[in-house]
């Protein structure tokens, strides 16, 4: 069984280090990782997730615009009738974590989140 994960950068944010580091850690843990590159619209992310048939979407944002952007991704999925679990990371203020989780994020990983922890969680979700 191939386990496919999309790592995506939404919005105009160019900070791609974190997304790449996470993508590489997941690749090394045996996952098939599709990385979108920077500056993706929520539409692009959702369409890519559909065409690549991934089991999990990881969103990364360091620009501060995470709430509206991530929300749009989740809404678009509902509109299109797809139900793919989502988790996220980036510079997310502690106060926003609960908001994001209520929105449907499985987990939120801020700056300094250990890669081991991220990989462990993903392994639990994607079997």
């Amino acid at each position: 069984m191939r386990k496919r994960i999309l790592i995506a950068k939404v919005g105009l944010d160019g900070h791609d280090r974190g997304a790449k580091v996470v993508a590489r850690a997941l690749k090394n843990a045996g996952f098939e990782v599709i990385y979108t590159g920077i500056r993706q619209s929520p539409e692009q992310v959702v369409e890519t997730a559909i065409q690549e048939d991934v089991s999990l979407i990881g969103l990364s944002c360091l620009s501060g615009a995470h709430i509206p952007l991530f929300k749009k991704v989740i809404e678009l999925m509902k509109e299109k009738g797809v139900d793919i679990p989502v988790f996220c990371g980036g510079t997310i203020p502690p106060g926003d974590v609960e908001i994001l989780k209520k929105m449907g994020m499985k987990e939120v990983f801020g700056p300094g989140a250990p890669l081991k922890l991220i990989v462990e969680k993903v392994k639990k979700w994607v079997k």
Binding site: M1, R2, R4, A23, R24, L26, K27, N28, A29, G30, F31, E32, V33, I34, Y35, T36, G37, Q40, S41, E43, Q44, E47, T48, I50, Q51, E52, D53, K80, V82
Partner: protein, 316 residues
């Protein structure tokens, strides 16, 4: 199995979600793949298959991005399969070709799918051949395949597609490289990408010395620059020209492909037999400890295979 039929129906109507799901299933389950192919065998396939192959990093994905733009502007539907390597150590892969063509992600006339390929010198995975057949049902006018950055022996790609484009770049080595057998003899169109970096004259001269007309087709050599869309238009014109050209050896080409597919399936059957056959490990042990040579071991396994698999299947 009504489910497969249902899915095929929906794919015929252009349903991308179903196409995407069926590709996953086919990748994960060789038995299901077989069922699908048995069902759609002989159905007319509309799409023309164009393959981009060539060494890592020469600009295949960048060129495909322009090709998608130009074809869709002409009103065509385009399917794309991007093959990237899978680590033999972890089984993981980073499928990154897509980054170069993300602007097409939301175009309803485009479908892009990344696929990982384990250690395979041909640059495509076995399932790709079957997946192409399924994509062919979905009404695409063109299906573009990008192979893993290949070495020298990726000839098989030229069997699976109507037109093979070999992408090279300047400063990749001397004329001896070009003289080596393999892909250089099997491409229909040669592209020297990155012709902005200098050295393209020499690369073109080497290529000219080694590319020969085949069956009435003179393979063109085209220079492109990945950052300049205008340089890709002559490439498209040549692709169209090649798609119209009637290869007198077409049947031979198809038979060549079929032979590799036969062998693939035999290989599959043999692998599955060995996985279950307890004597396999025993024989490996024996050979490792110099108890017998491996030719003898394989012959004995082959005898078991004949008795158990072939005779049993006949009885069924």
């Amino acid at each position: 199995m009504g489910e497969i039929e249902n899915m095929i129906d929906r794919i015929r109507q252009g349903d991308k979600v179903t196409l995407s799901k069926l590709i996953t299933k086919m990748e994960n389950d060789p038995e299901l793949r077989k069922e699908v192919i048995k069902r759609i065998y002989g159905c007319p396939v509309k799409g023309k298959i164009i393959c981009f192959t060539g060494p890592p990093g020469v600009g295949k994905s960048t060129l495909i991005d322009h090709v998608i733009s130009i074809l869709t502007e002409r009103g065509k539907k385009v399917g794309v399969i991007l093959v990237d390597p899978r680590s033999p150590y972890t089984g993981g892969s980073l499928l990154g070709d897509r980054i170069r063509m993300q602007r097409h992600a939301t175009n309803p006339n485009v479908f892009i799918r990344s696929i990982s390929c384990a250690d395979n010198p041909e640059g495509i995975s076995r399932s790709v051949k079957d997946i192409l057949k399924v994509m062919g049902l979905s009404g695409m006018d063109y299906i573009i395949v990008e192979t893993v950055g290949t070495g020298q022996i990726a000839v098989e790609v030229s069997y699976i597609c109507h037109t093979t484009v070999l992408v090279l770049m300047p400063n990749m080595g001397d004329d001896i490289q070009m003289m080596k057998a393999g892909i250089i003899e099997s491409a229909d169109i040669y592209v020297i990408n990155k012709s902005d970096i200098g050295g393209a004259d020499l690369t073109e001269a080497y290529l000219k010395d080694n590319v020969e007309p085949r069956n009435g087709w003179e393979p063109p050599i085209i220079r492109t620059v990945g950052y300049n869309r205008a340089t890709v238009i002559p490439l498209i014109e040549k692709i169209e020209e090649h798609l119209k050209y009637e290869n007198p050896m077409y049947m031979e080409k198809i038979k060549g492909l079929l032979k590799t597919m036969f062998l693939d399936y035999i290989d599959d059957l043999a692998c599955r037999f060995l996985e279950k056959e307890s004597k396999f490990e025993e024989f490996v042990d024996k050979v490792a400890n110099c108890g017998c040579d491996y030719y003898t071991a394989v012959e004995e396994l082959y005898d078991i295979f004949k008795k158990e698999v072939i005779c049993r299947d006949k009885k069924d």
